[in-house]
Every structure is written in structure tokens, then in C-alpha cells.
């Protein structure tokens, strides 16, 4: 399935996706959109792991299982983050990061 596609293509695509996520993480104000940027970053890392596993070490399983565990951790992280976001909304009626500064100083 991956004949004729060099490893570099996957790595460059993952790098672009990673830095798109970084841009969103820096510019967004809403907590949910920040969470979406983090999901982008995690996904780009998964692409990297799987491409390395398929191209460089096709006789091993490390990359595959790393991605599997990263997906599980991402799911747990999203669940907890959304619980926290809903709790913040209930307390402050906003999820804008600039208005949630009760614990500052």
C-alpha cells in the first residue's frame, strides 16, 4: 500500500500537522479549541511512530503499540479535560482562558 511513497513524505506531513496544532494552541482563547489543537498534535506524533515502524523496523512492534497506548491516553485526557471544562463553565459561565484567572497570584 505504501509503495512509491518515501518515508520523508509521512514525516513532513506529520511535522506540518504538529505545527498547525502549535499555532492553534498559541492563538486560541477558548478551552475547547485548545483541546482540539492538542488532539492534532497527538495525532501527528502517531503518524510519525507508525511510519517509522513500517519503514525502518518492519519486524518489530514498538511503534504500533506506542500509538495504541497514545490513543488510549489521549482518550483519557480528553474525558478528564472536558469534565474540568464543564465544571469551569458552571462556576464562571465562560470557558475563555483570559476570564478564568481566579487562582492567579
Amino acid at each position: 500500500m505504501n509503495a512509491g511513497i518515501p518515508l520523508y513524505y509521512f514525516l513532513v506531513l506529520a511535522a506540518l500537522m504538529f505545527f498547525t496544532g502549535i499555532y492553534g494552541f498559541l492563538t486560541r482563547r477558548n478551552l475547547i479549541t485548545i483541546l482540539m489543537s492538542v488532539e492534532l498534535i497527538l495525532n501527528s506524533v502517531n503518524i510519525n511512530m507508525l511510519a517509522f515502524n513500517r519503514y525502518l523496523y518492519p519486524h518489530k512492534l514498538e511503534g504500533f503499540f506506542f500509538s495504541l497506548f497514545i490513543i488510549a491516553v489521549a482518550a483519557a485526557e480528553a474525558a478528564v479535560a472536558i469534565a474540568i471544562i464543564i465544571n469551569i463553565y458552571r462556576r464562571f459561565t465562560t470557558i475563555n482562558v483570559e476570564d478564568v484567572n481566579e487562582m492567579k497570584y
Binding site: 512509491g4 511513497i5 498559541l26 492563538t27 483541546l35 507508525l50 512492534l61 478528564v80 472536558i82 470557558i95
Partner: protein, 176 residues
């Protein structure tokens, strides 16, 4: 251009374009739908790399689970037609500068590096191999991370319930 390359270009374009739309769209619900497209294209890339099981996991867990969770929380916390105010010019310029500079450094480093592939025979990862490896303590066994992740998942589940539980005004001791 072969069919493989055509599919890769298609998925790559979808990931890049919808990824940028995800982080720049001013309507939050649209951003979530663009994120869904990105995740589905990523599953397509996994299919291209011949990891069918992981592509299925990606589709069910990310596209089916996390995006639905995100959309639910969007509907709970913001108005559907609400538009964000545009990002400040200075902030967006500096963030874009940081992202582009990082991307250039990374891509130049990647293209400069000589990867050396092994000559060993490829090993197909089918369901049987996955199941045996997850519960094996031998070489290529992953029973310890499997157990740790199960504890992490139940901790996250309990934490999510406790944090999001409806908390009324706190009762003082003198109430009883």
C-alpha cells in the same frame, strides 16, 4: 503518479487544509467538524501503512468518541451561532512566525537525515499477534503498559465523574 501517491496526496492535502481550518475557523462547531475530517484522513494514512487495526481504532475512538464528546461539550458551553472575535494581529503574526520557523527547522532536519532501513523481513501485525503481545511477558510483550493503561483509564473515568458531578452549595456541619 501511481494510485498510492494519488491517495497520499489526497489525504495529505485534506489533513493540511482542514488542520489549518480547525485552528483558524471562527465558528467553534465548524472547527470541530474540520477536526473530524482531519482524524478520518489520518485513519486513511494508517490504512495506507497497512495498520488496519489501528485505523479502525482511530475511526471508532477518535472520530466516533472524542469528536462526539467535544461536540457535546461545545453544545453545552457555547452558543451555536457565536463567532469568536478575530485573533489580535500581533499575536497571530508571532504565533505563525513561531510555528513556521519550527516547521522549517524540523523539515530541513528531517530531509537532511539519512534513515537506514533494516533488511529483515517484514512482520504482519494481525489481530492474533496484537492479542498475544498485549498479554505476554516475553520478548515483544506489553503486559505491563497494558495493565498500567487499564488503571489509568479507570482513574480517568472516576475522575471525570467526580469532577463533573453536579455540586450544589456546600453543606456546613451545623446543617445536620
Amino acid at each position: 503518479m501511481t494510485l498510492n501517491q494519488l491517495m497520499f496526496v489526497l489525504f495529505g492535502l485534506m489533513i493540511t487544509v482542514f488542520g489549518i481550518l480547525t485552528v483558524t475557523s471562527r465558528r467553534i462547531l465548524r472547527a470541530a467538524v474540520y477536526l473530524l475530517f482531519v482524524l478520518v484522513s489520518t485513519a486513511g494514512l494508517y490504512f495506507m501503512l497497512n495498520y488496519q487495526f489501528l485505523a479502525a481504532v482511530q475511526l471508532t475512538l477518535y472520530a466516533g468518541g472524542i469528536v462526539v464528546l467535544i461536540i457535546f461539550s461545545i453544545l453545552l458551553t457555547s452558543h451555536i451561532n457565536q463567532k469568536f472575535e478575530p485573533v489580535g494581529l500581533k499575536k497571530s503574526i508571532f504565533s505563525a512566525l513561531a510555528a513556521v520557523a519550527g516547521a522549517i527547522v524540523t523539515i530541513v532536519t528531517i530531509l537532511d537525515f539519512q534513515f537506514s532501513a533494516t533488511t529483515e523481513a517484514a512482520r504482519e501485525i494481525d489481530m492474533r499477534v496484537i492479542g498475544l503481545s498485549l498479554l505476554s511477558t516475553e520478548r515483544d510483550g506489553y503486559v505491563l503498559p497494558f495493565e498500567v493503561i487499564s488503571i489509568l483509564l479507570i482513574a480517568a473515568m472516576i475522575a471525570a465523574i467526580v469532577v463533573a458531578k453536579k455540586g450544589g452549595p456546600k453543606k456546613t456541619i451545623s446543617d445536620n
